[in-house]
């Protein structure tokens, strides 16, 4: 299926989640398990996306300049840099390491 369709379906599902919150009775709000799963899943997915974008190359694992980007971003975050600075640090580290010859 064309990427457009998956994209539009994603948009629809994202809105469905949001709207669901407004439509379900407030008593469900007191079920701590649902909000806990929403939270642990947010952490897990973001950790997974970080790792995939750092070391996955298709179905193989690769150690390359992206590791430097991860280290640079972590350093920037440690010093409480704003999001955009963190992103620029990541880009700069990867580009810089490639200039030095590390793929």
């Amino acid at each position: 299926m064309n990427l457009w369709w998956w994209l539009l379906l994603s948009c629809l599902l994202a809105y469905a989640w949001k709207l669901l919150g407004f439509l379900v009775p407030a008593s469900l709000l007191r079920d701590p398990r649902m909000s806990r799963i929403a939270g642990t899943m947010t952490i897990g997915l973001l950790a997974s996306l970080t790792v995939v974008n750092t070391v996955a190359s298709g179905q193989a694992l690769a150690l390359d300049a992206r590791l430097g980007a991860l280290a640079a971003a972590a350093t920037a975050l440690w010093f409480r840099a704003p999001f955009l600075v963190v992103v620029l640090a990541g880009a700069g580290a990867a580009a810089g390491l490639r200039l030095l010859g590390w793929r």
Binding site: M41, I43, G44, L45, N53, V55, A56, V87
Partner: protein
């Protein structure tokens, strides 16, 4: 103007600028991931949830299928349902306003609203942050997409490194205390182990299953992981002793 004297509206405006600005990185990364300009804009206009948008393009950039991209984006959007319940309980919007409120229910608008105690301020905070971010996020996405399209070889500019940094930046504010760090490490390990064995994109869904299992069987803070990417009340929060969260229980 009266609105500018409202503390919640002021917080909402500054969070709009901070969050909107990083739409530039989304726009640039999206077009270099292989999406075209209008696909990028459709994500910012219609999906409108930063983490899910980055997840979608992150899976596509890694060679994952459209359905895997949709899976990651959708699972990451679950927390917006929880925010929706909170906002609905606080603001009780009626009629068509409820459908508009749902669209701008995201990390930052919820955090701006729930950080206030006065009901009127909660309402002002939610709408200023929600509408402000929507406008700026889309403007900056367009700017980033146009700039990204003109860049040429994305690797030469380190844009794959920018994606790594973006995801770490989204994860970081949620790692308060030992438990979320343990969840992140477990899911990172599950991902690395899964990469060689399943198609691209699927390791992220494996990690989601691990995370949901942890959430189902363990008993920790119920609001864990539900922190905004950009904290609207960062100044007040940094006054608190580090590593401690009011909801922390041993």
């Amino acid at each position: 103007m009266k609105l500018l004297q409202s503390p919640a509206a002021r917080v909402g405006l500054s969070i709009s600028i901070a969050t909107g600005l990083y739409g530039v990185s989304f726009g640039a990364l999206s077009v270099t991931s292989g999406l075209d300009f209008w696909q990028t804009m459709a994500l910012s206009l219609l999906l409108f949830s930063g983490g899910s948008q980055f997840a979608f393009i992150g899976v596509v950039a890694g060679g994952g299928s459209g359905v895997a991209a949709m899976g990651a984006a959708t699972l990451l959007g679950m927390r917006n349902g929880i925010y929706g319940m909170q906002i609905n309980a606080l603001l009780q919007p009626r009629g068509w306003l409820r459908f508009a409120a749902a669209h701008v229910t995201i990390d930052e608008s919820t955090a701006t609203s729930t950080g206030q105690t006065d009901p009127l301020e909660q309402k002002r905070g939610f709408w200023t942050a929600g509408i402000g971010i929507f406008i700026l996020w889309n403007l900056f996405t367009a700017a980033g997409a146009l700039a990204g399209g003109a860049l040429g070889d994305p690797k030469q500019w380190g844009l794959d490194g920018a994606a790594v940094a973006a995801f770490l930046g989204l994860l970081w504010p949620r790692l308060k205390g030992r438990e979320p760090v343990a969840i992140a490490v477990a899911c990172a390990l599950a991902t690395v182990l899964a990469v060689p064995f399943v198609p691209a994109g699927v390791p992220i869904l494996v990690a989601a299953v691990v995370a949901a299992g942890i959430g189902w069987f363990s008993h920790g803070r119920s609001d864990e992981g539900l922190e905004p990417d950009v904290d609207p009340y960062a100044e007040q929060h940094s006054a608190r002793p580090s590593g401690q969260h009011p909801g922390d229980t041993p």
